[in-house]
Symmetry: C2
């Protein structure tokens, strides 16, 4: 949802962390934002109209170049394309000789779309009336992440137009593979030049626009990690069953990779599918602290269980848990989810084949102190030990969990800015969703990192974003 306040604050907030800007200066900035509003809205729309979709390798170079152009326009002095084994990252700096430096994280890729599910074309970025909210941009990336990022850039444009010097230096790192779980982003931030720049930062902020309708906002003290992978059973690797698809009547004499995948999957979770049963998977889980439990309980008490259930189309929580316990499980429990099963005949009706290959698209969500490398190693060992050495684990991306201390300077600054702006801010210990914050919070970068910003939006990964 676009209004002057959102645009301004989402961007400006990160900049005023280290000190309170003078009221007269802020007034000039606000005036510049008013003048620039049409340009700022057009910038969001135009960014949405220039999508790059990493999962489909769709126009990624163009999207990278376009995003680099936006950074240059906003005043970044160095904007560098950072090649990786996949799609390039971006490293940009804006040095104003300030005492402190803030790290900013951008992504320039967006999630895939199914245009049939959208009421307006996903890359048309049309402005529509959202009853109860007003005018809003609808398009893939509107909330995740082009809207909030463009709001941040709008603040830079406004400060420049208002003749205001930034109170902090900026180090910006961006990637084009966030939606495929950041397989190469660690390589970008550990580039010696980038790492040296990041180490000067107070912390790293990813701009967000997650305010509730009443302006309330959560400050997340961390997020689960996410690791995406495919488990693939095939006659080719198994040495049993067919190389390709054969007529299904031969099932009586030929082994089935599909049944093999089912058998392997079944060993990974409890009978109800809710507890990961991989050998040693729980070894490094740090249980929630008393403080974290208290924060979850406070959040649960402030939410409407009926609304949450209606939003999900869910009647009961796992194990018929009461809402506060379900919310605690959401924060505390690592998961193994099946995103999709696909293989063999997938069209209408049936087809008499014995498929030579079957795939489960899976995803771990990890909690501290689990790591991506650790759980993948344990998954491999678990399968091997049960005779499933042939089941391929094809990792498509991922990162571990992230944590930022409640008393860190970045969190305290967020609380101060929200309070000054009249936005009720609730601390939340751990986002169940994931972002590659671990790349900042873990060594060698080791910085506080988290979401921050003002504004409204919804529909990340969904139609009519």
């Amino acid at each position: 949802m676009i209004d002057r306040r959102s645009l301004m604050l989402a961007g400006a907030a990160g900049l005023v962390l280290p000190g309170v800007a003078r009221a007269a200066d802020l007034k000039k900035v606000r005036a510049a934002i008013d003048t620039q509003l049409p340009d700022n809205i057009a910038r969001i729309q135009d960014w949405i109209k220039n999508p790059g979709i990493a999962a489909e390798n769709f126009k990624m170079e163009e999207a990278c170049a376009y995003s680099m152009g936006l950074l240059k326009d906003a005043g970044f002095q160095t904007v560098k394309r950072m090649p990786t084994a996949g799609h390039p990252g971006i490293f940009a700096t804006l040095d104003v000789g300030a005492k402190r430096t803030m790290g900013i994280y951008f992504m320039y890729d967006v999630k895939q779309v199914n245009p049939d599910e959208w009421s307006t074309p996903p890359f048309a970025a049309r402005i529509v009336n959202k009853p109860g909210w007003g005018q809003a941009i609808v398009g893939r990336g509107a909330i995740n992440q082009k809207g909030p990022q463009a709001a941040f850039l709008a603040a830079l444009h406004a400060m420049r137009a208002a003749g205001q010097k930034l109170p902090v230096n900026l180090v910006l790192v961006a990637e084009g593979e966030e939606e495929i779980a950041s397989p190469n982003f660690r390589d970008v931030v550990t580039d010696p030049q980038v790492l040296a720049a990041l180490r000067k930062c107070e912390g790293v902020i990813i701009p967000t626009a997650w305010q509730a309708r009443n302006g309330a906002v959560s400050i997340n003290l961390g997020a689960k990690g996410a690791v995406e992978f495919e488990l693939i059973a095939s006659g080719e690797r198994w040495g049993r069953g067919p190389q390709g698809d054969i007529h299904s009547s031969y099932k009586a004499m030929v082994d089935s990779p599909a049944w093999r995948l089912v058998a392997a999957l079944k060993t990974l979770v409890s009978d109800d599918g809710n507890t990961v049963m991989i050998d040693g998977f729980r070894d490094n889980i740090r249980p929630l602290t008393a403080r974290e439990k208290e924060l979850v309980a406070r959040n649960a008490a402030g939410a409407s269980e009926a609304d949450v259930k209606a939003g999900f189309g869910v009647k009961v929580w796992i194990d018929d848990l009461p809402f506060p316990q379900a919310m605690e499980r959401l924060a505390a429990e690592p998961t193994l989810n099946i995103q999709g099963l696909v293989g063999g005949y997938t069209g209408q009706g049936g087809k008499t084949i014995l498929p030579g290959r079957m795939t489960a698209k899976c995803e771990f969500r990890l909690v501290p102190n689990q790591t991506k490398a650790e759980v993948l190693e344990k998954l491999r060992a678990h399968l091997d030990k049960r005779g499933f050495a042939d089941i391929e684990i094809k990792v498509t991306g991922g990162y571990g969990p992230t944590e930022t201390a409640e008393n860190s300077r970045v969190i305290r600054a967020q609380q101060a800015v929200y309070a000054r702006s009249g936005a009720a801010a609730t601390l939340y210990p751990r986002l169940a969703g994931s972002w590659p914050g671990e790349i900042f919070t873990a060594p060698p970068v080791s910085l506080p990192a988290g979401q921050f910003g003002f504004g409204h939006g919804s529909g990340a990964h969904a139609p009519n974003e």
Copy 2:
């Protein structure tokens, strides 16, 4: 593969079952076939160019009407469209006042195609050179079943042109749902008028063109039954998990229909996926008789294991069985096969969703004396007993196994005709593939029934048929 001999014999063979035609008359028929050869080839091509695909509800009425026209052209006196709950059947008669009557089974639907996999368009019916074979029609239905059926019709055209009276009356029943497992064909044959006509028949023949390159052919004494169904887990029916797809991070508090399906599937088969473990599933299995085992062993001895393995891309048989035992298992063992798994995100890479619905496309192959109703009942009871009452069983079609006695008149006549034509015929106890023969061999029709014919072809259900 098209040659004069195939076209003639495939059709004529069925007709000469009751008695040996005089040599002079056969000579006239052969001459007529020579004259009509271009028309006969064009008829196959044109039939292929007019496809009906039941699985996709594609042009089924047109395909039915087209096929009825072919029957009228070939001399059938009555040709009647038989409405069903699905796509219509056809009932046709050709009464020449002969002493005996033969039943003929046709299908007018074809299997789905993926044109990308074909070297020529699947419905272009092009004539291409097949090295080692000569000119052949390539198209969906060329072998299954338009080629063999058109050859049968060609024989009727030739006999009429040669002024020859058929030695038998014909009762022809056809369906348009063979490729979706004949969900409504029983209703067609048990129509009082059709049933009365079929009861006058010696048996029922489905035309085939399955000769080996050296002319050898199998006489099958039966076939396994096939039952196609989907197993569907959904939040909607389960009352747990989401109604639709939700963000995967909520797996920690929301149940997963995908994991539920995996758990249910795992109970249905042994760990190796090769033995059906449904309660009571084996109760009515009649083991192979000593004679049947002897026939299987004789066939295995005549086949090249290396060729069969190469054809399937298979290195080892189930349980590392030697070839003769693997072939015996093929004839003896009922199966539960997964044709495909589909649900959630099935595109490139991953997508962070917890799917609300997951489907396994499955298929039973049954042996005497199992029945379709019996195994579906046992599947339901098995799932219910284990708490999976919510798993939907969506049956898309099927029928039980079929058996025809080795000493029946139809089998003896087949052996005589093959012998007279110099085609080495081997008895085979039970085809692992399936056809709706049970509808003829089981009450109330209770006739011998089986495949019969001359000619060559391959690629049923595959590209470049």
